[in-house]
Every structure is written in C-alpha cells, then in structure tokens.
Amino acid sequence: MIWKYAMGLFMAAVIIASFLLVPPTQGLGDMGRIIVYHVPTAWVAVLAYLMSMVHSVAFLRTGDMLRDRKAAIAAGLGTLFCVLATVTGAIWARGAWGMFWNWDPRQTSVFLLLMLYVAYFALRASVQDPDRRAKLAAVYAILAFLTVPFLVFVVPRVYPTLHPNLINVTERRYEMDSIIRLVFLSSVVAFTGLYLWMFDLRLRAENILDQLERERGN
C-alpha cells in the first residue's frame, strides 16, 4: 500500500522536475522535455512484452492458468504503453522533423511492435476454449518476442534514421547532461513503478472476475 503512495509522489516529483529542472532543448524548445515521457513508455512497453513472454513460458511448463492471465495482462499493458510511445514519438517528430509520421526505421519498428501484439489479442479473441486459447497465445507470445530485439535494438542502429540515440555505444557515454540524465532515469523508474502498479490492479480485477465466473458456473 505504502509503496503505491510513494510511487505516486515520486511520479509527481518527476513531472515537476521535467518542467523545472530540464531546460528547453536547442532547436525544439519546450518540446524537448517529451524525452522524459516518451523513452520510459517505450522502455516499459518492451519490459511488458518481455514479462508476457516469461509468463507464457511458465504457462507452457506448468499449465497454470494464472500465468496465462498474467501474460495477457502484461501484453495488454505493453500495448497501451507502446501506443503512448508511438503518440509521444509522433508529437516529437512533428516538432523535430516537421511531420508526425515519415516511416523512419524507428517509427516503422514501433508500429510493427504494435501490430505484433494486436495480432496476439486477435488470436486470443478467435479461440473460445480457455485451455486452447492459453496454449496458442503462449506459443505466439514467445515467437513474437523473438522479433522484438531486432525491431527495438537492431533496426534503428543498422538503418539510417533521424531518431536520436541517447547512448553513444562506441564512446560509452550518455548523450545528455547530468541533470537531464537524472530526471530521465528517475522517469524510467517511475514509469516502471506505474506499470507494476497497473499490472497488480489488473491482475486482482481479473482474479475476481475469474472467481465470479467459476461461482456462476457452480
């Protein structure tokens, strides 16, 4: 309980810091602050998809339906954060590149990530039997995650892109100053906490729904 309030206060502090501590970016002005929201949402989307894969593997090994429920919730939240990352990215692109969407490799890869997990829910919706649905969805979630490293990490580094890199891999340093880095990393922690809280809420709601269904069945 206490950690939920602590995370809420921390998120509020991050939002305030993003306006008070993070200076306007050269060329983008105040729009540059969007980095504090855009990158953490993308990070959380990938984390959520990873968790979906982990729960799917656990389901296939144990047959525990709770794992299937967790995998579906993680995929749902991952899709939500992926949509947020896409929208915030498009807003930033309008300011930086003059247009919301231009099929930049980074934009293309995040769009494909969305398609992957929309297909996951299409598959779940097309199967009525819960056991079969869980198995098929688990197999798909594992296969889908095989493409995620390629889309998120490889494509933007191999193909020429206008998307900035926050980390200079060859020189092993961040491409932002210490204050911005502090607020940025705090935002990553805050959004991760937000994801965990939302996951917990959804899981509890789904467990209650499942219990009601079973009671109705009895």
Binding site: L60, L112, M115, L116, L123, S126, V127, V139, A144, F150
Partner: protein, 222 residues
C-alpha cells in the same frame, strides 16, 4: 526421439504430403494461379513505367508473401479438415511432423518461385545485375517464409477465422525477414558486390534458423 528416427519420420511426413500433392495438385495449382494473377494485375496496373530497383523488389516480395499466405497455411489446416491430424500426432513426434511440413512448404514455395520470378523479370523487363544473389535471396526468403508460415499454420489450424488470421499473425513476425529480403533483392537488381550482401543473406539464414529452433520446441504444445 533419436535424431536419425526424427529425420526419418520427418522425411516420411514430407513424402506423404508430396505424394498427396501429386495426386491432386490442389495447393500448387492454387498458389501458382494466385501468384500469376497478382503478377498480371500489378504488371497491368504499372504498365510500361520504369520502376526503380527498390520498388521492383518490394512488389516481388509482396507478391511472394501473399502467395505464401494462401498456400503455406494449408500445411496443418488440411490435416484438420481431412480429420487426419490426430492420427498423424499419434503416428509420430510433433517435431518430426513440423520438420516434414516445413520441407513440404519450402519445396512448394520454391516450385512457385521458379515459375513466377522469371515471369516477373520478363514482364517488368528487369535484368538483375546479380542473378545468383537474387536466386539466393529468393531461396532463403522462401525458407524463412516456410519455417514461420508452417508454425503459424499449426496455430491457426486450431482456430475458426483461419484465413485472415494467418496473415495477421505471420506478417509482423516475418517482417524482419521480408525487410532484409527486399533490401537484398533491390541490391541484386541494381548491382553491387556479393561481399556486401553476405551479411544480409547470413541474417536471413540465421533468422530462419532461430525461428525454426524455437518452433521445434514450441510445436510440442500445439
């Protein structure tokens, strides 16, 4: 299952599918007609316009992809339709069935590509600067599509909306492979050196390999 018995069983499944196909060449005919139809429609629509290599490459792979979606889905779906899926699962290991079906899908796709790709080159008046590279790209692309498509065929065979779901599920997972295939084909049309293409061809091979290995493990649960 021991490796030799696995390969033997997979070869038996492949021969079974191939024999069924020769008896009533339904799949191959449908794939061929579909591919030729799409090719004719695109050629008619584009007319005599000279297209750049990237667009030519993209059109070729769009055609091959949708052709594959029509045919590769039937690898497992036809077993469910004919009521032989359970018998097949009782007769041998899931991994052997999967390998046999991948081989069958690959042979089917390469068979279609052997006819359709030269026809494409003729209709669009393309003389590829690197024909060997083009051939390698098409073969590796067909391999990747066969591997991924067969896995998704096993998934969609157990759902109701099979046709549309196959494309919806397959496209995002196949896209990295298609992306590189289009890039490599474009280079093969325009010309470069083979050494420059080697990493892309290697990627296509290893992407197919990675999906194949993952599918071998996962197909047990389907």
């Amino acid at each position: 299952m021991q490796f030799c018995s696995l390969i033997k069983a997979a070869w038996t499944v492949f021969r079974k599918d191939l024999r069924c196909e020769f008896r009533t060449p339904l799949n191959f005919s449908i794939l061929m007609i579909f591919a030729v139809t799409v090719l004719m429609v695109v050629s008619f629509a584009v007319g005599g316009i000279a297209l750049d290599p990237t667009l030519l490459a993209a059109l070729l792979w769009v055609m091959l992809f949708f052709t594959a979606m029509t045919g590769v889905a039937r690898a497992y779906v036809q077993e469910e339709e004919t009521g032989t899926a359970l018998v097949l699962r009782l007769a041998t290991d899931s991994a052997a069935i999967y390998i046999g079906k991948v081989l069958y899908s690959f042979v089917l796709l390469v068979g279609v590509a052997i006819v359709v790709v030269p026809l494409y080159l003729v209709l669009f008046s393309v003389a590829p600067a690197m024909p060997l590279a083009l051939a390698a790209t098409v073969v590796l692309g067909c391999l990747g599509i066969a591997v991924t498509g067969t896995t998704f065929s096993a998934i969609v065979a157990q759902v109701t909306a099979q046709g549309s779901l196959m494309t919806v599920l397959s496209f995002p997972v196949m896209l990295p492979l298609l992306w590189i295939a289009i890039s490599t084909t474009s280079t093969a049309f325009a010309g470069s050196n083979l050494v420059a293409l080697a990493p892309d061809l290697a990627f296509m091979f290893f992407y197919s390999g990675m999906t194949f290995v993952a599918s071998l493990v996962l197909v047990e649960y389907l």
